[in-house]
Symmetry: C2
Subunit: 201 residues, 2 copies
């Protein structure tokens, strides 16, 4: 897949459409990352995340790491993950859309930019930082805003075999429906089905 | 796949989880039935439905026709489809869960049974009629009731590449979450991805 500066987004989603469970529970959504038969180490900064995933999921990660040039996140997600400890698992710099100053706990050598003048500006800066690679939207609310603004080119779903019943839906507050997508690129993992959809414009 | 009297359900569902669009629009949900490259005629009673689908979708239909012994539908769906003109496209007898008498327009030679003493009784009668083949639930509300009652064994989703934004969700009013599913059987059609999930019990 070519990735010419496109705007994409990726989420683990339950079959009933949730990207976070009730009480922000991610146990089922991320179970596939320890549910496969192949050891895989995501090395980020000084940290190493040891996963057990299928070889198909390894290919998916390698592709994401190679093609992602920048990530855009909301302030809430950035604080919830404590800035992913400084380095996002996908290994790309993070652009945080916010109205407030940089948190004090953010260290100077972390690859992060705080943008206070809106989504459009954040996307433009992310595109510049990505330098031809793709920009990945990490927060559901920002993905929804991009979808509504016609900015999103691709949606990647790691579809997990659970019904959560309640939580945070990925596709909510959609103002532009119906949205037609292309046929997905499908890859079957263990505990997950990877689906990559282009958005028709 | 073996089908030893199991209870299953099958729906065309948009990526954002809708099995009917706003205003009960099915245009996008059923687009794949005319969006493939292979002519396929569903012959039911005196009627013939001419579809254009992928060879993968043909296999899916043939499997459904061979393995389905009875269908269970709600009164609303049965009336909305005018009893599928007497014969459901899958070619199996229909059991209608209802509180009211048989509609006058239903003809005597149609393979349909009206059950007025509840869901459990309808499922039992459907199982008897199916004779070892599977029972397919055709209405979303009844599928939800079966799921909540622990009666459902399998969920088949024809996942279509659209975001509808609003309409009727397949997975709503779930009382038993989280529900763990098995890894799906995946088959990639044209304009549709067929996913068959077993329900873990």
């Amino acid at each position: 897949m070519s990735n010419n500066g496109k705007i994409t987004t990726a989420f683990s989603m339950s079959l009933d459409g949730f990207v976070a469970g009730p009480n922000e529970d991610f146990q089922q959504l991320f179970a596939w990352m320890m549910g496969g038969d192949t050891d895989y180490a995501l090395k980020i900064g000084e940290n190493e995340h040891k996963l057990k995933i299928s070889t198909e999921s390894v290919k998916m990660y390698e592709n994401a790491i190679n093609t992602t040039g920048a990530l855009v996140a909301g302030r809430r997600l950035y604080e919830l993950t404590q800035g992913w400890g400084g380095h996002h698992p996908i290994g790309a710099p993070v652009i945080v859309v916010t109205h407030r100053p940089r948190p004090e706990w953010v260290q100077n050598d972390w690859p992060v930019t705080f943008v206070t003048d809106g989504l459009q500006s954040a996307i433009e800066q992310a595109r510049e930082i990505a330098g031809g690679k793709s920009v990945a939207i990490a927060s559901a609310t920002i993905a929804q805003q991009c979808l509504n603004a016609g900015l999103l080119d691709e949606i990647h779903i790691d579809l997990v075999p659970f019904l959560l019943g309640d939580g945070v839906r990925l596709f909510e507050y959609l103002k532009v429906a119906p949205v037609a997508l292309g046929d997905p690129h499908v890859s079957v993992g263990q505990g997950v089905t990877h689906l990559t959809y282009s958005i028709k414009k």
